[in-house]
Symmetry: C2
Subunit: 351 residues, 2 copies
């Protein structure tokens, strides 16, 4: 992935004029985008470069991929994972979907005074395990402590370094009409699991977070179909709907989403219906989306399905000329709807 690829100009110029920060500014949807495009990007001089999950930086003449994420998930632990596993997998996945091989990770901890020592040890151990399984080394860090009542136990920031895989040339600008959209597996597991872990909803479901490294799935895809691979993204905050809207916007093209092909577990579907949530907006922590040239789509899909954990992969959509910069969902009964980027924050602090 390169940040130097030419991109279509943004449709409109965004200004950040919000009087105050709301939860939605951290939810990964429209408000987050307004903050990044309207405030950070112009000030930090990165206006005009695409907002991807990772940046490529030349260090002593070598391209290095870097990505960073803060984690504030509440509660700290939930079925299938915890803040520590998310903090490692989230950053590893941002490297992987940027076409980079993970090399090293650093972490900062903001700890709340009074946090039990064994909770910290548990999370440090979870990070060490996740890093080992993901093939990345944790090489440094920093710890600060804030007063009791702040920081909900702990917040973690991880930053990952990777080496670009020269076989991968992903960019929204290289996506073409007819390209196929592949999703690696069932969606919504992470968001609904965290929601249930909070105990605010009287629902019991056999669910667990999908937090994992998508490295093995992407490695197989790249091995078999790098030539046709045009774009990747992990649909975390804001879900599949937000990721595909970013693709539509950044490519200047349309995305047709065949909704019945999107893999969703019954328990997730049921919870979403009950709570009035659109599963396409729910966060995932162990899935990725890939856009592949039509000629390579079947081989790409087979490559992902061949890896344990990739059996549920599916082609869920197609790139179209029109309507430009829009995601349209098609139902099996002939209906269609515009699928919007996430607005507001129905499930705050999901990662």
């Amino acid at each position: 992935m390169s940040i130097a690829e030419p991109l279509p100009p943004p449709v409109e110029t965004v200004r950040f004029r919000d009087a105050q920060i709301e939860m939605a500014h951290g939810a990964g949807g429209k408000a987050s985008r307004r903050l990044v495009e309207g405030l950070f990007a112009p000030l930090f001089g990165s206006l005009g470069t695409p907002l991807t999950d990772a940046a490529t930086v030349a260090v002593a003449g070598t391209d290095v991929v870097i990505t960073t994420d803060a984690f504030v998930v509440r509660p700290l632990q939930f079925r299938g994972g915890s803040i520590g596993t998310l903090a490692v997998h989230g950053t590893v996945n941002d490297l992987v979907v940027s076409g980079a091989s993970p090399c090293a990770l650093v972490a900062t901890f903001v700890l709340e005074a009074g946090l039990p020592g064994d909770v910290l040890e548990r999370e440090a151990r979870a990070m060490a395990d996740a890093a080992r399984r993901s093939g990345i080394s944790i090489v440094g860090g920093d710890t600060k402590v804030v007063e009791h009542g702040k920081a909900d136990g702990m917040y973690i920031t991880t930053t990952g370094l990777g080496a670009p895989d020269r076989r991968v040339r992903c960019a929204a600008a290289s996506v073409r009409p007819g390209d196929q959209v592949i999703l690696s597996g069932p969606i919504g597991d992470h968001g609904i699991t965290v929601l249930l872990a909070r105990g605010d909803v009287d629902l019991d479901a056999e669910l667990q977070s999908d937090t994992r490294s998508v490295g093995p799935l992407v490695a197989s895809l790249v091995e078999e179909a790098a030539h046709g691979l045009r774009w990747m993204r992990d649909p975390t905050r804001g879900g599949v709907a937000t990721a595909l809207n970013e693709l539509a916007r950044d490519s200047g093209l349309g995305v047709a989403l065949f909704e019945e092909r999107v893999p969703v577990r019954d328990a997730v579907r049921g919870a979403c219906e009950l709570l009035g949530l659109d599963v396409l907006h729910i966060a995932n922590e162990g899935q990725f989306l890939a856009v592949v040239a039509p000629a390579d789509a079947e081989r790409a899909l087979d490559a992902i399905r061949a890896v344990p954990g990739g059996e549920g992969a599916a082609v869920i959509g197609e790139i179209r000329d029109t309507p430009a910069r829009t995601v349209i969902g098609f139902s099996p009964f002939g209906g269609s709807r515009v699928i919007e980027m996430l607005v507001g924050d129905p499930l705050p602090r999901i990662c």
Copy 2:
């Protein structure tokens, strides 16, 4: 700087068994060290490598220096700086004293819901300005939002990437008896300024934080005396006393500190006397310590003094064989005392 340099074995094995996290675990002194050496280092597999301000990682065959820090300073703004300037300068300085040229920086923000938009804009602008002055690009980031009442406005984590300067070969293991200890300028300004900004102490002093990049000072030092340069560190949390104790411990040697030579402004000295604080434990954000071979010490000092902002540099101490792993302070009247690493946290959340 290389993390592969052989080091003397640690004197004792530290175990982290603290029942709960206290403010002191984030203060940079003994409790912080217990946390890092007793918990993180063994779990993350970095046991035996020195705990320096930055790590060196091979990415695609090229050595890259990476460092990360969380910033939770309270209040967000104070004379001479703010959380945004600290977040950039702190990370730039960690790269610089590790012998690296700063290349790029990424940042995460944990924002409190209800934070005024213009406060965020002010800090983003402060970061952009500090980055420009320090010659580093801000290339990426992430934002999360937590509920009102958490996060004190904002916490920031920055991670910096640098390219190693091949002329610099710093390591505690290469320090030798007779080497001279240079300090770049007056100490305590930052810590006392932040303390006064809190308004808890009825004291008015013409002070401001020393937050700045030490890059130009170090560049001049390296240009003139790289050959004799053996160790550098920026004495932030825990102050000069903690940094020198780490040097004594990591080198296995003693440090003689000539206390009257340590530059301290009258206002800082007065505040410390009034509050019962040892200025050697007060945090600095724009100073560094360097250990230089005796033959190069004068040239090194002149090089620092020749740069605007380096006029106050001084030789403040000397490396000695004994007492090993100990810092001894000598007064002009012939007295001496053991100078300990910071214990507890007299000034919490200073950076």
